[in-house]
């Protein structure tokens, strides 16, 4: 009993339960073959591409901020890589450095505007989102005359960033696992992690406690923008082409992953394992429908329902956890 209570208190609990619920739904109502689903690469690839972006977006949310410009940063990363190394024929590492540098630049802009003004990060990143959508389109059309750009990456780049393991699993999955491990370590085992939680709890108290809040916030924004352009870069290398787009889909998907994973919007609570499981759950929901005979027309309805149920579960478990703490505190008083 105590074990179950302890499990429910962890932020990842609801996402694990949602995952079980979603799988049960698909098996019972969709006739899904679980073995086939487990072997399939499609949802894992989807999860990896989304997951690398979801983790820093989640860290920002724990710190009490929001970054929606990632939607435009993913195509920005792939277009930059493709234009530099594909269209202009510059060496591969130039294209890669360009994409990552763009991420650093946009992240810095986001961070500076958020800390130096009282404009909320949602609005700041909305502005950079729209701006980057325009820059990516203008750059592609004016420089190359096309809205999609080809790239023929050299073998070493393909091996590290763009190969298929076993013919089906993208190597970015390994990058995702590695980055998740690093972020989990930083968030839960280092003082930087404590700082992030403190920042999300109360910004003023955090600053008074001596935490370098401004530098921390800017660093987090740089991480999220660079992670997004990294994903775009990998896609350009793997798929030999980059496409201009508005990227709105990524935004909602990333927020869903983070929120299903137990991170609360107001900040101060969450875990990397939770975001990781939330990403897997979302990927199974979004891609699992293809393994069923349920009409695709209903897929958004299923996504919406799953999101609401998962978040509601998150809220109840968190309340349970907090009430448990209060009860224990009272007992000890």
């Amino acid at each position: 009993m105590e074990l179950i209570k302890a499990f429910l208190r962890r932020p990842a609990a609801a996402s694990i339960l949602s995952l079980i619920g979603v799988l049960a739904f698909y098996v019972v109502f969709g006739g899904v073959d679980l073995f086939k689903l487990a072997k399939a690469a499609s949802w894992v690839n989807f999860a990896a591409n989304l997951g690398i972006v979801a983790i820093p977006v989640g860290l920002l949310m724990i710190a009490g901020e929001m970054d929606i410009s990632i939607g435009a940063m993913i195509p920005a990363g792939s277009i930059t890589t493709a234009i530099l190394s594909g269209y202009y024929g510059l060496p591969m590492w130039v294209g890669m450095a360009g994409a990552l540098a763009l991420g650093v630049l946009v992240g810095t802009v986001n961070g500076l505007l958020t800390v130096r003004t009282t404009v909320p990060s949602l609005i700041v990143t909305l502005g950079t989102l729209v701006g980057m959508q325009g820059i990516v389109l203008a750059a592609a059309v004016l420089l190359t005359g096309n809205a999609s750009v080809t790239l023929a990456a050299p073998d070493w780049a393909k091996f590290v960033f763009g190969q298929l393991i076993g013919g089906s699993h993208q190597v970015i999955i390994l990058w995702w696992l590695g980055l998740a491990a690093i972020f989990a370590f930083v968030l839960h085992k280092t003082r930087y992690g404590n700082w992030i939680f403190a920042l999300g709890g109360d910004k003023v108290s955090a600053r008074n406690a001596g935490i370098p809040t401004e530098r921390l916030t800017i660093t987090l924004f740089i991480l999220s923008a660079t992670a997004a352009s990294f994903v775009g870069m990998c896609q350009a290398i793997q798929f030999n082409s980059a496409q201009v787009s508005g990227g709105m889909g990524y935004i909602f998907n990333a927020i869903c992953c983070v929120v299903v994973g137990g991170v609360i919007l107001t900040g101060g609570f969450g875990s990397v394992i939770g975001i990781f499981m939330g990403t897997i759950t979302f990927a199974v929901v979004a891609q699992g429908i293809y393994f069923t005979q349920i009409d695709r027309n209903w897929s958004n309805l299923i996504i919406g329902a799953m999101l609401l149920i998962a978040v509601a579960m998150n809220e109840s478990f968190r309340k349970l956890a907090l009430s448990q703490v209060r009860r224990t505190a009272k007992k000890e008083a």
Partner: protein, 335 residues
């Protein structure tokens, strides 16, 4: 100590109103595009272009702004718009029932979704951003599934009768869509509700501090549900006018309204944290946004740069609002 000579209610006071920033922004963008766009932009083609766009986004931005003042977000407006258009089209086009029934159906869909949003936001602790993203997906899914199930395709076609077309879809002078006058009507209505009635005070109080508002005896739950039903209604209304004006409704419509409405509200000086804002500011913000969006096509600028200009203008407008507000607070603090 500097003594500022002020006339009673002089220019200084006007400049410190929260709407001053958005008003200034509106004038600046108008002059910018007038210089580039020439005769067409300052004449009725220009005015009608951005007014037509402002009317639609503005109608939705008003209740979205109210919600933001009260401390909430509504992302589902983007899905309610096509849901309402298709309801009208299916009832009156596919099933060929009279158009007033279709319109009633469309508006009812908006009110229903708004009620569900408000109910869930007040009964659970799910934040409004996530909740309305969830209802957005849900409504999108229902719209597509039901439309294909009933009508067999993603778009439905209607031929509006002359009376309905005159009420909802006429174009006066060939260019100015009647939605403009509906919008102005809504502006007057919402202005009265927010700034001239106790209900409006409740909305500001709710945005300031929810707990204190409830303790002060304000029916916060009912108020929140009313606000969400208002935004659902507005989105449904725009859906109705669009389907009657153009005679066609498609499932894949409305997505841009979500962030566009938020942009208009923010340019208009409403803060995201709630508790401050004004209807006039939202109107200025909407006009600014519409001028920027449509002005590009009158200027000689490459439309590929369109999004860059919009993004830059959004940031400039928001930053200048921010500066104005800081100046205003500093001045009053100095006194």
């Amino acid at each position: 100590m500097t003594v500022l000579t002020t006339h009673k209610g002089g220019f200084g006071r006007l400049a410190r109103r929260p709407e001053a920033g958005s008003f200034l922004g509106m004038i600046v963008v108008y002059i910018f595009f007038a210089a580039l766009g020439g005769q067409n932009f300052v004449g009725s083609p220009g005015w009608s272009s951005w007014l037509n766009m402002a009317a639609e986004i503005g109608t939705i931005a008003l209740p979205v702004g109210l919600l933001m003042i009260a401390g909430f977000l509504d992302i589902s407006v983007g899905a309610v718009l096509p849901a309402s258009s298709l309801t009208v089209a299916i009832i009156s086009g596919h099933f060929e029932l009279p158009l007033y029934l279709g319109v009633a159906g469309g508006l009812a869909v908006g009110l229903l979704v708004g009620f569900v949003n408000g109910f869930l936001v007040t009964r659970t602790t799910i934040p409004s951003l996530i909740l309305t993203i969830g209802t957005m997906f849900g409504v999108m899914g229902l719209t597509l599934g039901l439309t294909i199930l009933i009508a067999g395709s993603t778009g439905v076609f209607i031929v509006p009768d002359t009376l309905s077309h005159a009420i909802f879809g006429a174009a006066l002078g060939g260019m100015f869509q009647i939605g403009i006058f509906w919008w102005l009507g809504f502006v007057a209505l919402i202005y009265g509700m927010l700034h001239l009635s106790p209900w409006g005070n409740w909305v500001f109080a709710l945005g300031g501090d929810k707990e204190s508002a409830r303790n002060a005896g304000i029916p916060t739950r009912a108020l929140t549900i009313q606000l969400y039903m208002l935004s659902g209604f507005a989105a449904a209304f725009v859906g109705v006018t669009q389907v009657i004006t153009f005679g066609s409704a498609q499932v894949a419509a409305g997505s841009s309204f979500i962030f566009n409405a938020i942009m208009c509200v923010v340019i208009g000086g409403v803060t995201l944290t709630g508790g401050a804002g004004s209807v006039i500011g939202i109107v200025f913000g909407t006009i600014t946004f519409a001028i920027v969006n449509q002005g590009i096509f009158f200027s000689g600028l490459d439309p590929n740069f369109g999004s860059i200009i919009i993004g830059a203008l959004l940031l400039t407008a928001v930053l200048s609002n921010d500066t104005f507000r800081a100046m205003a607070l500093r001045y009053s603090a100095r006194k």
